[in-house]
C-alpha cells in the first residue's frame, strides 16, 4: 500500500509544519501578554499626561445592531480627542450582534490585536475560563481610578459582582444594572377603554384587560411575545437565574438553595396563566414560530402589548421603538443579580498590545463627557442638536431612519450617566436610574458567577431539551398539564440535576469564601 504510506508520510510532514505554526502563534500570544505585564510593572506610577506617552493605536471591539453610515466621521472625531488626551488613536470595530459570538471567538483565538472588547453577553465565565481576558485589578488601580470611583459611587457591590475567583475581568457599563418587570401597552387603547392601570398587580390581573381588547378590537392581538416567549424575561422577576437559568434562586434568596426553575410552583402557575390566555385567543396562534418582533407587531397595529423587563424611562424608549405612544405598568419590583451586571461589560483582551493604555481609554469612557457623547450620539449639529443645555434631539430633517449615526446604545459605552438626555426623556433620568440601581433588591448570590466547565456535556444536552419545550410552553401553545412533566422528565434524563448539583457546590464554596 504505497498510497497509504505516502499519505501517512505526507501527514507527518504536514503535522510537523502545522505544529510549528501553531506553537509559534501560541507563543506569540503568550509573549505579548507577558511583555504587557512586564510593562505594567515597569511603568508603575508614571504615565500621566499625554506628552510622556508614545503614540499607540488601540482596537476597540463592540457589538452593534447595524453599523452606522457615519462611523468613519465619528471615529475621526474620537481620534482627535483621544490623541489629545492619551496620545492614542482608536480603531473602532463594530460587529453585528448576530455575528458577534462567531467573530469574537475567532478573533480571540488568533493573535489579532484587540485592546478593549465588550464582554458578557452570556459568555463571561467561559471567556475567563479559556484565558481570553486579562485580570483588571492592577490596571484599575493604576489607570482606571475614574472607573472604580464612578461605579463605587453607585454601590461597590456592582463592581464586586464581576469578580471571578476574587479577580475582576470586566467592568460593567454604568446603565440600568437592575430590572423591574411589567407590561407595556398602547396608550390610545388604554385611554379608549378606560383601562384601570393601577389595578394591574400581577399577570392574573391582565385577563380582564386582554378581554376588552379581544372583544372590541378584532385584528389586534392582546399580547405578543417579547424575545423568545410571552414570559421569557418575566420569569426573572421571580428567580435569580444564576447565569443561564439552569438552576435558579427563587425570590433572589432561598437561602442559597439552588432549585430547578421548571419544577417550581411559580413557574407552573405562570404557564397555566399563559395557557389560559392562549386558549382565550389573547395570544397569536403562530406565537411559537413568529420571527416578527414585538415592535414591528405593535407598529403595524397588529398587537396591543408585551410583557418585559423595565427600567426608568422605559415608556419613552418603547414609544420610540414602536412609533406609537405606549404606557408601561411596572408591577414587579426591581431586582439585581450577577447576570444583570455582567451581561454587558468592558474587558481587556489577552491579545491587547498595550493593556495600560487600553485601561486609560476605558477610563475616558467613564469620565469624559465628550468622549461618551461622541460614542453615544455622534457629532453635535450633524447627528444631534442641543435643545437645551443637556437635552438633545435630531437636527432638522433627520430622524431615526436617515440619521448617519443612530446607535442608541448609550447603555454600552461606559458611563451612560454622563451622556446627554434625549428629548422626550425625563431630564432627571440618570438620577432616577442611579436611584433605581441603588434601591433594587440585591440577590443573595450577587457576585457569584457559575463556571460551566465541569458540566458542559450536560448543558449541551439540556439546552436541546429546552429548545424543544420551552417556547411552546411559554406561549401557551401546548398544555402544561401534560407537557410540563414531560419536559421535566426529559431535562432530568439530559442531566439537569448534575448541573444544579455542580452549581450548588460552587455557590456553597463562593458563599464560604465571601462569608455570606
Amino acid at each position: 500500500m504505497i498510497k497509504n504510506k505516502k499519505v501517512a508520510k505526507a501527514f507527518l510532514i504536514l503535522a510537523l509544519a502545522f505544529t510549528m505554526l501553531i506553537t509559534a502563534c501560541g507563543n506569540g500570544g503568550k509573549n505579548s501578554t507577558n511583555s504587557g505585564k512586564a510593562g505594567a510593572a515597569a511603568d508603575g506610577g508614571s504615565g500621566n499626561g499625554s506628552a510622556a506617552l508614545k503614540p499607540v493605536e488601540l482596537v476597540m471591539v463592540f457589538p452593534v445592531g447595524g453599523e452606522p453610515k457615519d462611523m468613519k466621521l465619528v471615529s475621526d472625531e474620537i481620534n482627535k480627542l483621544t490623541k489629545e488626551k492619551i496620545n492614542a488613536t482608536v480603531k473602532l470595530v463594530p460587529i453585528g450582534f448576530g455575528a458577534w459570538s462567531q467573530q469574537k471567538t475567532l478573533m480571540m483565538s488568533g493573535n489579532e490585536q484587540i485592546d478593549l472588547i465588550v464582554s458578557g453577553l452570556g459568555t463571561y465565565s467561559q471567556d475567563v475560563a479559556k484565558g481570553q481576558l486579562l485580570e483588571l485589578d492592577n490596571y484599575l488601580a493604576e489607570q482606571g481610578q475614574g472607573i472604580t470611583e464612578a461605579l463605587d459611587s453607585l454601590d461597590p457591590a456592582f463592581l464586586n459582582a464581576t469578580r471571578i475567583n476574587s479577580k475582576i475581568y470586566g467592568v460593567p457599563s454604568i446603565r440600568d444594572l437592575a430590572a423591574d418587570y411589567g407590561i407595556t401597552m398602547r396608550k390610545d387603547l388604554v385611554d379608549k377603554y378606560n383601562i384601570d392601570t393601577t389595578a394591574i398587580k400581577s399577570l392574573d390581573d391582565l385577563d380582564a384587560v386582554f378581554k376588552i381588547i379581544k372583544d372590541n378590537e378584532p385584528g389586534i392581538i392582546p399580547t405578543v411575545k417579547y424575545l423568545t416567549s410571552i414570559i421569557d424575561i418575566y420569569v426573572n422577576s421571580f428567580f435569580d437565574n444564576l447565569g443561564e437559568g439552569l438552576g435558579v434562586l427563587p425570590g433572589y434568596d432561598n437561602n442559597l438553595q439552588v432549585v430547578n426553575m421548571y419544577e417550581t410552583p411559580e413557574y407552573a402557575e405562570m404557564l397555566n396563566t399563559v395557557r389560559r390566555w392562549n386558549l382565550a385567543g389573547y395570544i397569536a396562534k403562530d406565537a411559537a414560530t413568529s420571527t416578527e418582533t414585538q415592535y414591528n407587531l405593535v407598529k403595524s397595529g397588529k398587537a396591543f402589548s408585551f410583557i418585559s423587563h423595565m427600567k426608568p424611562g422605559i415608556e419613552s424608549q418603547e414609544s420610540r421603538s414602536t412609533s406609537k405612544e405606549m404606557v408601561s405598568i411596572h408591577f414587579r419590583p426591581a431586582a439585581t443579580a450577577t447576570y444583570n451586571i455582567t451581561s454587558i461589560m468592558w474587558s481587556i483582551a489577552r491579545n491587547s498590545k498595550d493593556p495600560e493604555r487600553a485601561m486609560m481609554l476605558l477610563n475616558l469612557m467613564y469620565t469624559d463627557k465628550q468622549f461618551i457623547n461622541l460614542l453615544d450620539y455622534g457629532i453635535e449639529d450633524t447627528h444631534y442638536v442641543k435643545v437645551s443645555d443637556n437635552v438633545i434631539d435630531y437636527p432638522k430633517g433627520v430622524d431615526a431612519t436617515n440619521s448617519g449615526y443612530n446607535l442608541q446604545m448609550g447603555w454600552m459605552f461606559g458611563n451612560q450617566f454622563l451622556s446627554h438626555i434625549w428629548n422626550g426623556d425625563d431630564t432627571e433620568l440618570w438620577n432616577q436610574l442611579a436611584e433605581f440601581n441603588r434601591n433594587a433588591i440585591k440577590s443573595k448570590a450577587l457576585g457569584f458567577t457559575f463556571n460551566a466547565d465541569a458540566v458542559k456535556t450536560e448543558i449541551a444536552a439540556v439546552t436541546n431539551v429546552q429548545n424543544q419545550y420551552k417556547v411552546a410552553l411559554e406561549t401557551g401553545t401546548v398544555d402544561p398539564v401534560s407537557k410540563l412533566p414531560e419536559f421535566n422528565k426529559q431535562l432530568k434524563a439530559a442531566g439537569i440535576d448534575k448541573i444544579i448539583a455542580e452549581k450548588q457546590k460552587q455557590l456553597d464554596a463562593w458563599a464560604a469564601a465571601s462569608k455570606k
Partner: protein, 296 residues
Amino acid sequence: MQSTGKLYQWIINIIMLVFTFFCVMPFWLLFSSSLTEDMELVRSGYAFFPNKISFSAYSYLWNSSSEIFRAYSITVISTVLGTALGLTLTAMVAYPLSRLEMPFRNSLAFYVFFTMLFNGGLVPTYLLYTNYFDLKNTILALIIPGLLMNGFYIILMRTFFASSIPPAIIESAYIDGAKEWKIFYRIILPLSTPVLATVGLFYTIMYWNDWFNGLIYLTDSHYYSLQNLLNRILLDVQFLQNSTQSGGRGAEIAAKIPLASMRMAMAAIGVIPLLIAYPFFQKYFVKGLTIGAVKG
C-alpha cells in the same frame, strides 16, 4: 436523434411543464410579498396577488443605496474573479488526473477526494488565513478561503475528460508534436465546453450566494457582499431568539430588525440580478451542451 411519436413528446412536455411550474411558483410568491405594503403583509399575509402593490420596501432600500450598490459591486467582483480563477485551477488539476499517464494518478485522486470528507474545522482555517496570509478584511477573503476549488468539481471534470474525450485525439496531437499545454489549451478545453459551462455556473452560484467567508473574515463592512448584508439581518433575528446571549438587551436590537416584507424585498434584490444574468449564462451553457453533443 431519432424522430419519435407526437404523443410521446406531449407527455414529456406536460411532465416537464408541471415540474417547472412548481419550481417557479415560489419565486412569484417572493416577489409578490416584497411588493406588498409593509403593514399589509403583517396584517393580511402572503398572497400571489397582493391587494395593494407598494414599492415602499424597495424605496427604503434605494435610500440606503450607496451601501447596496457597493455590496453589489463587491459581489460581482468576487463572483467574476472567483469563478474565473476557480474554473482555471479546477480544469488544470482535473485534466492531468484524467490522463492515464499521470504519475501517482490514483494517490492524487485520493488526495483530492479526501478533501471532501475531512476538514480542519473553522478555527485552524481561520488562523491560517488571518495569521499567515493576512486575508482578513480584504476582498481576497471573499474569494480564496474554502471556495476557490472544490474536490467535487475536480472529480466531475475529471470524469468528463476521461469519458468524453477520446484518447485518440490526444495521441494524434502528441504524434504531431504538440506540447501538453497546447493540447490542453487548444484541444481539450474547446471540446469540454459543456462541463466548463456547468462547473462555471456552479462556481458562479456558489460565489454569488456565499455569506460565510464574509461572516468570518470581514469585520469591516466596507467589503460586505450583498449576501453579507442580507445575512446580517437574519443573524440578528436568530440572535434575538436566544435570550441568554442577548442578556436581556434584545429590545434595543429588536428595534432595528426590519419587517418581513423588507426582508422579502432584500431577498428579492439578492436574487433578481442572478435571475436576470442567468438566462444569458444559460444560453452559452446550453450552447456548450449542444456543441458537446454534436462533437461528442
